[in-house]
Amino acid sequence: MNFQRYLATAILATGVLLAGCDDNSDEQPSIEVGTKASVVMLETTDLHTNILGYDYFKLAADPSFGFDRVVTLIKAARAEFANTFLFDNGDTIQGTALADYQAQVAPIGCETTLAMYKAMNTMNYDAGTIGNHEFNYGLPFLSQVSGLQLNVDADGMPTKKCAGPNFPLVLANVNSSKDNQPLFSPYSLITRNLTATDPDGKTVTAAIKVGVVGFAPPPIMNWDKRWLDGKVYISDTLEVAQKYVQEMRAKGADLVVFLQHGGLDGAAYSADMENLGYYLSMVGGVDVMFMGHSHRVFPNATSTLAAFNLPGVDKSKGLINGVPSVMANYWGKSLGVIKLNLVYGENGWYVDKSKTTVETRSTRNTDGTYVAADPAIASLVDSEHKATIEYVKTPIGDTDFRMTTYFADVGEVGAIQLVNQAQAAYVKDYVAANLPQYASLPVLSVSAPFKSGFGGGSDYTDVQQGNVAINNAADLYLYPNTVYAVKVTGAGIKNWLEKAANRFNQIDVTKTTAQELVGSFPGYNFDMFTHTDISYEIDVTQPANSRIVNLMYKGVAIDPAAEFIVATNNYRASGGGGFPGLDGSNIIYASPDANRDVLIAYIKVLENIKRTSNGADRSWRFKKVATTGPVIFHSAQNVLSLASAAGLSNVSLYQADDGSGKNLSIYQIDLAN
């Protein structure tokens, strides 16, 4: 072969080889410089398995949240904009009784798609990331429902790929200890044909590649230590962010999107910090950052939150160090919308930053009404929804007496003692197992009537005799607190009870007119013991802080210096209610377990709740005193029989209707008896 022919062949061969190097060349015609396209990126975040707007504890619909309403917003955005991408930013599969039902009560099988993902699968998500709550049910469950076979050593890992979301889940900063590789795909590259406009104004199709990478908050290693310790570990998030940005760009990503399940924090950088958004925005090469986890709305022009007012944060335009960023609330209440105007230049697509817009769209209209829920979602998950309602109504035990707080202000303990028993048992077990230095201290408990009629005759705890279900437990323990235990002295206990006794007005024994027993001090701060080991009297004729008399422990006047452990809740122990000495300084156990869950677990073991053992131990009485005039208080109508059933023989009806229009009667207490 002569040289010319050789050269021609070489050039031809090179041309063929080079042509093959260009990924786009055999997919799309090349894009004309000057072509423009508008790309809208949408975010849902922190859906927490609120597929429908429904409160499973109250067993009532609530239109102020729910995936079925944000779906309406997504569809509207897709009708409005030609090119949309939809992402979910994590904390998706945990958060309601429906989630618990599918994960723990009646765990779904491999072939069943999780209801939340089933609903999301109808909406063509482009990608999602993993938030901290994805780990709450453990790695085997997460592996199963995400339709992936995560490479970790744990009991119960699925043996095959199971049904899951029809969109990729990406996570870059959590690695398997088994193979030192990211647990999930760190990123995904999405190729899309955009509807664009060429320089002549003609509508054309133009391809774009979007790289999306996800990050979970590093404190998962603490929050879900029991599932994750030794099995996964966190990378230095900033380092992997840089690494994967470079990798995605090298693979032709025109745009890079961060799905950060976290918010903003301007504190000095720490690899363990929870909210990495501020530092991630500085990584470089990022076009869009989605945020979540903190359940807030960003941008928010009027926010006073320090994190939203950091240098470099534009809380009106939604820019964090120049990066368009959005945080779309939680539970489907809002949709994050970031609109980018793209121009195709010499070196590919670039963003015309002057035209970028960032906003959140709420399912709540300005007039206070809500957008319509998409009915298709409700039909889709109807059986799971109904099964959850049945679950919440399933008996976990039964009670031989009606447990109420109608007369808790005057000595009824029926709805409080069981809570105290559950709390004390729980703390006692923990101390015995983990805090040997306190093993010799007595463990007591206090609780309060959370519902004591402020809202009217139905604003009381009232669990009927008979079956007790989970929603009844919610009635017995209204607030979402966690169990804390504090170490206090006898003097501290007295101060605690004195504060609680502010519930009552000071009674003047000489007054002939009726005096209200109960003041404006909230009933949920009326902490009381309900144990035969502790007894005390409340003298309501005394001014506040001098009312607790005859405070005894095991029949003997309490030693002010003696030490006790008292189970309570995190709010009380951290200063809630302003109780003296309860300010966080004497917490010996800060449990992650909710008081309500501790109560439910206790009932499940106890099974049969009886008044004799769980509802008749009064620790306190009013100090007996004769009054000239009546001492009165308000409670629900037609419940006097419950007072005598509770052993309160000094209560009588004073007036059938108190005239407030709140279905309340006035009762009288005879303090002399």
Binding site: D236, A271, F454, P480, N570, G576, G578
Partner: protein, 248 residues
Amino acid sequence: MTIRRQYRWLWLPAVLLPALLVAAGFLLGNPTVTETESLRVRAALGQWPAEIRLRSAAWLGNPAALRAEAMNLLASNSPSGIAEGQAKLRQAAGKGDRRAALMLGKLYFHGANGLPRNHALARPWLQQAASEWPAADYYLALIEKNGLADAANPERALAALTRAANAGVPHAQFLLAQAYLEGQGVVRDEAKALQLIHLAAEQEYPHALQFLAQAYARGDHGLPRDERQANLLFALTADANRDSPAFP
């Protein structure tokens, strides 16, 4: 003899290795705060280049590097590791690393990682840390308020609590709010209390969220009675209870 000749050369690595570490430290320069964190994480994962870099910086007395090594050691779960970690933490704090001082103060406050609960020992470390780490003022406030180190000093407690609250520590904002609600050490001021509660609630501090939830449920503290708002706030409280740290 043969053996002695072979051993004769052991002086070389024995001198070279530390010299190399020191040289590496000098050549590479002091790592920045962010770099130190990155090194710490990678060293904890056993990546030896990061270990060497961190070790060389620590050898040269870089307080942040010392503190980073201390953190890894304290997380090691071995008694000797923890003891060494405490020592390095003290070194770092002694060289002026205020974050290390805060860590030491907190360890003594709670009694953790091998250190006994000792508020008198905690206090000087917290005082050192306070100019840079507002959380230290929160702990100092608790010590002074409850007389945990010596006699209670309500004025100093209030000053420290106010500093921490003003610097944005939500735990302090909540306690200061309680003080204004009760008129404890300050003139009773419900509006100021609510302002502090809102600041803490914005940071998802669960007790501030619960306070507001309860207030909206009843229409207390100047807020309108709003059951829906109360329900939403209780739901936020539930999440925050789980995710929020009990202490700053």
